[in-house]
Amino acid sequence: MSHKVKDATIPHIPTGARISRWIGRNLIRIYAVFAFTYLFIPVAYTFAFSFNDSGKSNLIWKGFTFGNWQNPCGAPEVCTALVNSIKIGFLATFFSTILGTMIAFAIGRYSFKGRSTSNLMIFLPMATPEIVLGASLLSLFLVFKINPGFWPTVIAHVVFCVSFVVVTVKARIASLDPRLEQAAMDLYANERETFRRVTLPLVAPGIAAAALLAFSLSFDDYIITNFNSGTLKTFPEFVYASAARGIPAQANVIGSAMFFLALAIVITGQIVGRKRKVSA
């Protein structure tokens, strides 16, 4: 409103000045557009080259084809690696979400002796470089004569996912309004009912976000996996190993498909969350 009045009182501003004023006002928004472009350049590149009629080496653009999307398992090993990554991702997510959520409730809801030590123990894995986590776990497995492979990789992934689950769920617990639980108690719900009917549903979005985070961390991990997977190959390991001679376009298909799938999940989550808020 006030802008309109101002504009009316100053009748003729030269176009150049008007443009520079607009830029001045929107500088930060223009910057954001550039920053997002930067973030998405390699994503767009990966997506574009998933349509490359490339043959073996996907380095130079040779022509457009849907062939890679119709046959995503066309390149050797790529789907075995993908299946390994998905299996490991689900198991790591399952275990780290359970362990992490329990810890988050303990630390977020109770004060007890040893609370700060537990906090430190959660923080330390995040402050340790991945290479140290991976290397130290491998040496432990070697001491106990456990061969690197599927389960050692799952265990390694749970180690670094747990802390992120704790932090995410704890933040959600901390943001809860304690009056909601008090209200449930006032309405004669016992502790268990309050937890099941009030606390848990309220914390659930945090747990879901933590699980999604854990899965993407696990699915994307290379360094720790490389130390503990032995001869097993995950999808990131497949990409790393093929990077030297050019990765097959099928890897781009899988990367792009994962991108759209995850985006769809996150956006659906947002919409469901908003509807709930509106109906509540």
């Binding site: 930067y38 470089p129 140290v132 790393y240 890897a251 994962m258 995850a262």
Partner: protein, 282 residues
């Protein structure tokens, strides 16, 4: 009444797990670091001789890579901070209805495997990509200059890959700022810059601290960017640890290097957090 034992029961499985698969391995790593090869034994056989000079040898032999890791990680962290701060500011204070959508955009690149994105950068900046020929035609770089296999490419790759880790905590702390404090600053005749320097920036310090840590720590131990985007001249300490462990099978040196890296990072983090004056981390 709540039972006293409840929090301990909740903690037990997770803490037992972390003790077994995080604390024990670190202790084991420390033990390995002072071992020496068994005389006349096979490769990969070591015995405990408490040889602490392993640390000195390992450090002296690889001080160049150590130095490089910390220099690269520091530059990448500062660049990421410079790029992410205005972005986080834009999302938190100018995002309006698009706030949640923009946040999704920040994490969305994550969903394409980071290795695919790093390989994509390698190809974009490589000889067959479009950037190098363009820059050569315009005359910004000479015909013999390349962008990949340089420290520039490695630092750029790290900056790119860790950018969301910087942006999200910055956003969280800027978003928490009460807009009335900014209005109050304006009412007291502070101009935009003064408001930023005296109000916004100090209030967003927890985000700056968390973001720089979440970027610096993985960057210092990283070797993927150096391996894909760099050359033998850009090797970082991570590359050395990886090859000592998995290729040369020299566990004691690898363990000594890992332990040194961890201790140096922990010391830097402690000093930094003290200086920055935020204890609230987790």
């Amino acid at each position: 009444m709540r039972k006293i034992s409840t929090p301990y029961l909740l903690l037990l499985p997770g803490v037992a797990f972390l003790f077994t698969f995080f604390i024990l391995p670190i202790i084991n790593l420390a033990q390995t670091s002072t071992q020496t090869p068994v005389g006349g034994g096979d490769t990969g056989q070591f015995e405990q001789t408490l040889r602490f000079s392993n640390y000195l040898d390992a450090f002296l032999e690889n001080r160049e890579q150590f130095g490089r890791s910390f220099v690269y990680a520091t530059i990448a962290t500062l660049l990421a901070l410079a790029i992410a701060y205005p972005l986080a500011y834009a999302i938190a204070l100018k995002g309006g209805k698009l706030k949640n959508f923009m946040l999704i955009l920040v994490i969305a690149p994550f969903f394409t495997s980071f290795l695919l994105r790093t390989v994509a950068w390698k190809q974009i900046l490589g000889e067959e990509g479009f950037v190098v020929p363009t820059l050569r035609t315009v005359g910004i770089i000479s015909d013999s200059t390349t962008l990949t296999s340089t420290s520039f490419a490695v630092v750029m790759g790290m900056t790119y890959n860790f950018l969301p880790f910087m942006t999200l905590p910055l956003y969280a702390s800027i978003d928490r700022i009460d807009p009335r404090t900014l209005e109050a600053s304006g009412d007291l005749y502070a101009n935009g810059f003064t408001t930023f320097r005296r109000v916004t920036l100090p209030l967003s310090m927890p985000g700056v601290v968390a973001g720089t840590l979440l970027t610096f720590i993985p960057a210092a131990g990283d070797y993927v960017n150096a391996a894909i985007l760099g050359s033998p001249n850009t090797k970082m300490i991570g590359n050395v640890i990886e090859s000592r462990y998995l290729k040369i099978v020299d566990y004691p040196t690898a363990a000594a290097l890992s332990f040194t890296l961890m201790i140096v990072i922990l010391i830097l983090v402690t000093v930094y957090v003290r200086k920055a004056g935020t204890e609230e981390l987790v």
